[in-house]
Symmetry: C2
Subunit: 457 residues, 2 copies
């Protein structure tokens, strides 16, 4: 996932983030939806099937294409309408062999994973001294040229947070570290994984080279390996490292989105987009990132549709190529951006429970905000004053002014697993998954049937 | 670790495993030892140094030789006497490349690790159908020859236990599964890791081919990968797997034990052996298996010696080649078995707290049992009626009749990590480690100074 979190801090400065308690004079009309969704089986079956039968599905690869076929078949069998794949082409970075070894003074292997768009080393690898930077700011402060012939190693102090905000902050080491290190002359960069676990599972992830910067080999050490290297460095002797990373770039590979709809009765009222992404990183099976999101939005759309006819069409968007830069979200907007959109929502933060709801609605929609807060409260979800930011699959829609509601999931465990081989089905908790389906189902029903005029045309 | 647990079940049938509460009329005389040991820094420093500066140290390899040199230097600097390495030679199995891929119907890679003494596949690997056995008993029940041309896959239902007894029971899939599968014609065997975690970290471990059995490729899938393969199998279609495992066997490689002593005043009273093992499996840094044990026994011997002169010599035995069959323990017995031994103890079950003490003493030593129970009770350790079994480094001594006391550690987390790449320093909890040092220090002091006649000559 790539959360958009601009505006969060500003809101924090202007008082409590939570809106006042709401009137609960009557039992919410949505109770049957909520109760049915809390026993949902569709979401689990979707995630179990996708992760087992397809497994890893990197953007632009044959595995992602198989995932599209699988999802189209599955969504049709679940009764969705207008199910189809919409394809586009894109460049693809593919991981090859990767190996790191401390040569001296404490010879041993380290476990790492190349970052997206990493350059390759020569086939025989490179061997050089490590230059250590406790934080990204320390790397930024290094004089130009001072890293010539060195392997930069950047650490950080990321800890788990419920709202996932530590990823935005500490993730800069991955997103910006490689370009900064290259500018200063480094021949390669290693970062401490952007993760909160203690397992030898490196966290990969995309990074983009800034304009004019020469790509260099770039990889993440697992957290225990980063700590091991730090302990070696603290002993004071120069550390020499041998590094082999191979990868390749392919042009014009097919990727695509899968779209499925629950048709509404009033086409002019605009569609409600319920987004997730179908691609995953290459080393796990993409259970929490983002098989879970796709299972949740599909199951919730079905649960909402069972409660009666909908005014607006719910359009499930299972985007392609989210992990490598949001190609699917952009392709969707190019194809559909001019259609009327009433609301955009996205599920891409695992399967742990929804604990907060954020809104970004036009002026004058306080009544809808209150109704949504009321139907979500029985699920233990507090309505906040923080602006909803969405995620990268719906980013172009949001930039165009489409309203957005975020059902924020508990991210405490998320970065233990995110972008590692460990992103597998066993990490999904069925009861928390069902709470997600229930939250989405009651919210989608309320939004799809809202009598207000919503969105942009 | 390879615990010897014979006799445990028998004891359970004859009543409560715990001996009655003990008289605590006076504050135990050992309090200063215990209090000092609860602030020990030697054990942590030992484990931190060994795992950082040496890292993995497989039996019979240059890394194990470096670990011996490191330990000799360290133990001398800590003030031990008669510090030396005692070497021997042995055959060595070395891991090579390993890869598994489901070919059809759900193509994807699986993560695995070869078991010790596994045969190699041809360089290009093998490809065949999987034959699934939910338990080892199911494999045993398969007709002779029925596995011809098949890759056997054996699962099990191991769960964590405080006393580690699930390892003895479920570990049979690793110890016996390969030989049984080969006898029935299988071309390879995969087992679900003998582990209790949910991470993609396969658990390796030794297995020995029974006489006359043809070695076949044998490996453990990580727990999530074993579950993934089981889900695929449950769908009913034949699963075809491609498997590449390479390894090599070397003859007559050097291994060895490291020995260090705190000399006692009465050589005729017999030595007290405090054992651990210096070798580790090849993929982790051997923090809990068994850097921790070596840190604990070295630190405890020093803490005991600080409290005053000792009657008996405490001999720290850091054995080589425990993981591959106990070569170090046998070499020790060949060299020293005829010397008088008063007691043998071993620490090889991680660094979590000691919760129970077991005894195997000759008739007439109830007073020593009571004194040990009394000094251990303030550390939250209950004295049991279960017979102590020791571990493989001291197995030859125990078989020869040397008394043994087991300070049983909490094994609830142990098999999450055991024999995986995840066996790293961050898994050691400093406070629990110090409780171990305190338990060992008070016990060693009591045993080394016991006025009774102990042991065999």
């Amino acid at each position: 996932m790539q959360k958009i979190r601009s505006g969060t801090l500003a809101a924090l400065f202007f008082g409590s983030i939570f809106i006042p308690a709401l009137s609960l004079a009557a039992a919410p009309a949505d109770s049957p939806i909520r109760e049915a969704a809390l026993n949902d089986t569709v979401a689990w079956d979707f995630i179990e099937g996708l992760t087992t039968e397809i497994g890893p599905r990197p953007a632009g690869t044959p595995q992602e294409a198989r995932a599209r076929d699988w999802a189209v078949t599955k969504l049709k069998s679940l009764g969705f309408s207008n199910v189809r794949a919409e394809t586009y082409t894109m460049p693809v970075w593919l991981r090859g062999h990767e190996e790191a070894r401390v040569i001296s003074p404490y010879p041993q292997n380290l476990i790492l994973a190349a970052l997206g768009n990493s350059a390759s080393t020569p086939e025989k690898g490179i061997e050089d001294e490590v230059a250590y930077f406790p934080t990204l700011a320390d790397l930024e402060a290094a004089p130009e040229g001072s890293l010539k012939g060195k392997i930069a190693f950047v650490s950080h102090a990321m800890h788990a947070t419920q709202d996932g905000s530590s990823y935005g902050y500490f993730g800069a080491a991955r997103r910006q570290g490689p370009s900064i290190a290259s500018k200063k002359g480094a021949i390669a960069i290693l970062i401490r994984s952007i993760g909160t676990d203690s397992h030898r599972q490196p966290h990969t992830g995309v990074q983009m080279w800034t304009d004019g910067v020469k790509p260099i080999p770039a990889a993440a050490l697992s957290v225990p390996d980063a700590e091991q290297l730090t302990r070696m460095i603290s002993r004071g002797q120069p550390i020499r490292l041998h590094l082999t990373l191979s990868s390749k770039m392919l042009k014009d590979q097919p990727s695509g989105n899968v779209i499925a709809e629950i048709p509404g009765g009033d086409p002019k009222a605009g569609v409600v987009v319920a987004a997730c992404h179908l691609d995953s990183w290459d080393q796990g099976t993409g259970a929490i990132d983002d098989g879970a999101g796709c299972g949740i939005v599909a199951a919730a759309a079905l649960q909402a549709s069972k409660a009666g006819p909908l005014r607006r069409t719910i359009r499930v968007l299972m985007a392609g190529a989210e992990e490598v830069g949001g190609n699917g979200g952009r392709a969707y907007y190019e194809a559909h951006g001019k259609e009327p959109h009433a609301m955009a929502m996205e599920s891409d933060f695992g399967a742990d429970r929804v604990w907060r709801v954020d809104f970004k609605l036009p002026q004058g929609h306080d009544a809808l905000t209150r109704r949504l807060a009321t139907v979500l409260e029985p699920l233990g979800i507090g309505a906040s004053r923080l602006p909803a930011g969405g995620g990268s699959d719906i980013e172009p829609l949001i930039k165009a002014g489409v309203p957005v509601v975020d059902l924020q999931q508990d991210g405490t465990r998320y970065f233990d697993i995110h972008h590692t081989p460990d992103d597998t089905l066993d990490k999904v908790d069925l009861q928390q998954l069902r709470q997600n389906v229930a939250a989405w189902a009651v919210a989608l029903f309320e939004i799809a049937n809202a009598p207000e005029s919503l969105g942009v045309k």
